[in-house]
């Protein structure tokens, strides 16, 4: 069983190709069904967003799987041939496929690093796959892990904290002046797109009131309705300024609408309560001399852009931390996958029961010292035969199900039933005395509650 990914993203394909491949949510189920009807494709998740179309799959043979999935992708759109797709695709298997999924989930592969939409999109894709039963033990585990890695990255790094859009940078600055935006009033002067966007962000942050003024009175009334605000006549807005904590200006005027003395008057009227002015217009509408007014904080478009640039750089720094987390988590997941292979499981099972048998036989023999050699062999033979009969069906089933789609589930079950994750399966064929001892006296607390994944993680760290 191999985990593979085949897909394309904003990094490898232009939008003309991406839009053709994109699968609308309503047809996701059907597409998944088609995907899993290809021979050799055991599990599949289809992630389709405006920036990427990717198929994560569990297949029997890697090369075969790559070919099938490329075929599947080419089939999604009539005008596309498999050859046309080739230059845009990437193919990964094993640790690289898992790492790719983790990076995508943690938004390290996004156009805007650290954006949070992708995680929701992945969750959605996973839910659809679950609903259509196209995932199994491996995909479930890997995707769930990807989601938890993304959450870990979000909480342990500052990757999504800093604003990376001009309009949001305005909100971020506002929060450094006002700790609580709830009771604040915003005055929106003019109706430039970016100012409107910033006003929307501020409303989303819960500002108390929005007052709107534009040169055309009707426009202000329309906007006020849209934002749930109050229209203000344009010739009166300077008197209104004292009531506004945040002034957003973006008009087409070619000169300064607001001078330093206007702001000074407003600040005085406010009893020196700080005021935050954002000038998103080009040419500027607020006289830069306002910066000399105490308790008034003016930022123009360049200041906001500078802030955005800084934040981008910071996000990249945080991304490095996140990459290290991804490497760590991929290691842990690979360990878990290795444990799902059948042969080491059978070996571990064998040595596990042998150890139990041996221990019990020795215990009994020490009390039956009077037995003859022949009787001893008889007792030991009986123990062996019970043990062998007990595990016989398990062994046979495991071997038979190796290549079925349920194979990993059987292995996982066997490992849990017989508690095979206590010692590493890799060295169980050369039985070290320690692991033997552990078989003899299993610690009841530890063995009863320890989930196999927890052990795997411990081993990895």
């Amino acid at each position: 069983m191999h985990v593979i990914v085949v897909g394309l993203s904003h990094k490898t394909a232009p939008v003309e190709v991406r839009e053709k491949l994109a699968v609308p949510e309503s047809r996701l189920g059907e597409a998944l069904g088609r995907l899993c009807s290809y021979s050799g494709v055991k599990e599949g998740v289809l992630l389709s967003t405006c920036n990427r179309v990717e198929v994560y799959s569990v297949v029997e043979d890697v090369e075969e799987g790559y070919a099938r999935i490329q075929e599947f992708l080419a089939d999604t759109h009539l005008s596309l041939s498999s050859e046309q797709l080739t230059p845009h695709l990437y193919w990964h298997t094993g640790d690289r496929a898992i790492a790719h999924l983790f990076r995508v989930a943690a938004s390290l592969d996004s156009m805007i690093i650290g954006e949070s939409q992708i995680l929701g999109q992945l969750k959605n894709a996973f839910e659809v796959a679950l609903a259509h039963k196209t995932t199994g033990v491996i995909m479930n585990k890997v995707v769930k892990k990807a989601i938890s890695v993304a959450k870990r990255v979000r909480t342990e790094t500052k990757i999504s904290e800093m604003a990376v859009s001009v309009s949001y940078a305005a909100v971020e600055l506002a929060k450094k002046i006002f700790s609580n935006l709830d009771e604040k009033t915003v005055l929106l002067v003019g109706a430039g797109e970016m100012a409107k966007l910033a006003a929307r962000h501020l409303i989303a942050q819960g500002v108390h009131q929005v007052r709107i003024t534009t040169r055309t009175p009707q426009h202000a009334i329309d906007l006020a309705e849209q934002f749930g605000g109050i229209p203000v006549p344009f010739d009166q807005f300077k008197d209104e300024m004292a009531a506004a904590d945040i002034v957003l200006v973006s008009t087409g005027a070619a000169h300064y609408l607001i001078g330093a003395e206007d702001v000074q008057r407003a600040v005085d009227k406010r009893g020196n309560r700080p005021m935050f002015l954002i000038d998103i217009s080009v040419p500027r509408n607020i006289d830069p001399a306002v910066r000399h007014v105490d308790n008034a904080f003016l930022f123009d478009i360049d200041d906001l852009k500078q802030r955005v640039e800084q934040n981008r750089a910071e996000r990249l720094q945080e991304a490095e931390k996140a990459e290290r987390m991804v490497v760590e988590e991929v290691g842990a997941t690979l360990e878990w996958m290795k444990a799902l292979e059948v042969t080491p499981t059978i070996v571990a099972l064998r040595s596990r029961v042998d150890a139990i048998k041996q221990a019990e036989v020795e215990k009994v023999m020490s009390r039956l010292a009077h037995l003859s050699q022949q009787d001893r062999e008889l007792v030991e033979g009986m123990a062996s035969s019970i043990v062998n009969k007990l595990i016989h069906r398990t062994m046979v089933t495991l071997k038979a199900e190796v290549n079925s789609s349920n194979g990993p589930a059987f292995v996982e079950a066997a490992r849990r039933f017989f508690h095979l994750d206590q010692s590493s399966t890799q060295n169980s064929d050369e039985e070290d005395p320690e692991s033997r001892l552990r078989y003899l006296s299993p610690d009841p607390v530890e063995s009863a509650h320890e989930e196999p994944e927890a052990t795997v993680r411990k081993r990895a760290s």
């Binding site: 500052k158 600055l173 929060k175 450094k176 002046i177 006002f178 700790s179 609580n180 005085d268 406010r270 009893g271 020196n272 309560r273 700080p274 910066r291 105490d294 308790n295 904080f297 930022f299 200041d303 500078q306 802030r307 800084q310 910071e314 720094q317």
Partner: protein, 267 residues
């Protein structure tokens, strides 16, 4: 036991100071947690030391200057921990803990036997405690004022550095400034009144215009006008921040006055 605990306290506050100051320069917030725990540990030792000293002192009614300063430092940390717990402003520690350390170190630098006043009045602890609490309030106001001025400068000059990201919002700092003065002022007033009463019992006059009393009265008047100005003519934000920084200078001068008087009393 008390002196061992004092040494441990001082060492812990020193470590916390270094770590809190380093935290200011680094983007990661991890250090602030460590610093906080070290400070809390120091606070526990500090408390033990103070209790041990109070129970073993020959006459508990006579706080030495050393004890008073140590108590001052203890209250600063207490106030910091309370504010930190309520508002999670880690950066406050970078300002408060160093001040507490300075206060504790200067306490240790003074001879332990310097008395503040002659043990004539049982309420001397009340006077010292109230004045100290008032002073702690003004110290917090000072720290909030300094942070306000830094953040104001950073915003005005558009320097969005690490300090900018760690300092809280301007209006929060202004609020903290106001609240600490509102709490500190009545406490200092009561401190001065009880001090005057104890002086009356001691020397027969309420006011003798020694450096301590002069300083205390100037400080009191100053903060009275700061509060009045804020409530009436809008002395808030940047002006309030400046004023509290100046006011803190008065506080320090008063403390120096107290030391001078104590030395005078000794000789």
């Amino acid at each position: 036991m008390a002196s061992v605990c004092f040494m441990i306290t001082m060492a812990l506050y020193f470590v916390a100071t270094v770590s809190f100051l380093t935290h200011l320069l680094r983007r990661s917030d991890a250090l602030s947690k460590v610093s906080l725990w070290v400070t809390a540990a120091g606070f526990v030792f500090h408390t033990i030391a103070l209790v041990a000293r109070m129970t073993t002192a020959s006459s508990p009614a006579t706080p030495s200057f050393y004890e008073a300063l140590s108590f001052f430092s203890w209250m600063m940390i207490l106030v910091f921990l309370v504010v930190e717990f309520r508002h999670r402003i880690h950066v406050l520690g970078s300002f408060m803990v160093p001040l507490a350390l300075i206060s504790l170190v200067s306490a240790a630098a003074l001879p332990e036997t310097v008395p503040t006043l002659k043990p004539v009045f049982k309420t001397l602890w009340v006077h010292v405690t109230l004045s100290m609490l008032g002073t702690v309030g003004f110290t917090v106001a000072f720290v909030a004022g300094v942070m306000y001025l830094i953040q104001d400068r950073l915003l005005k000059s558009k320097r969005f550095n690490v300090l900018y990201s760690k300092l809280p919002a301007l209006d929060f700092l202004d609020h903290l400034n106001q609240q600490s003065i509102i709490l500190g002022f009545p406490l200092l007033t009561l401190g001065i009144v009880t001090g005057a009463i104890s002086a009356e019992f001691d020397r027969g006059s309420y006011v003798s215009w020694n450096p301590e009393q002069t300083g205390a009265l100037i400080t009191w008047l100053f903060y009275f006008f700061v509060l009045l100005g804020r409530l009436t003519v809008g002395w808030r934000a940047k002006r309030a921040a400046y004023l509290t920084v100046v006011g803190f200078a008065c506080v320090i001068l008063t403390l120096v006055g107290v030391v001078l008087k104590s030395h005078g009393a000794l000789s």
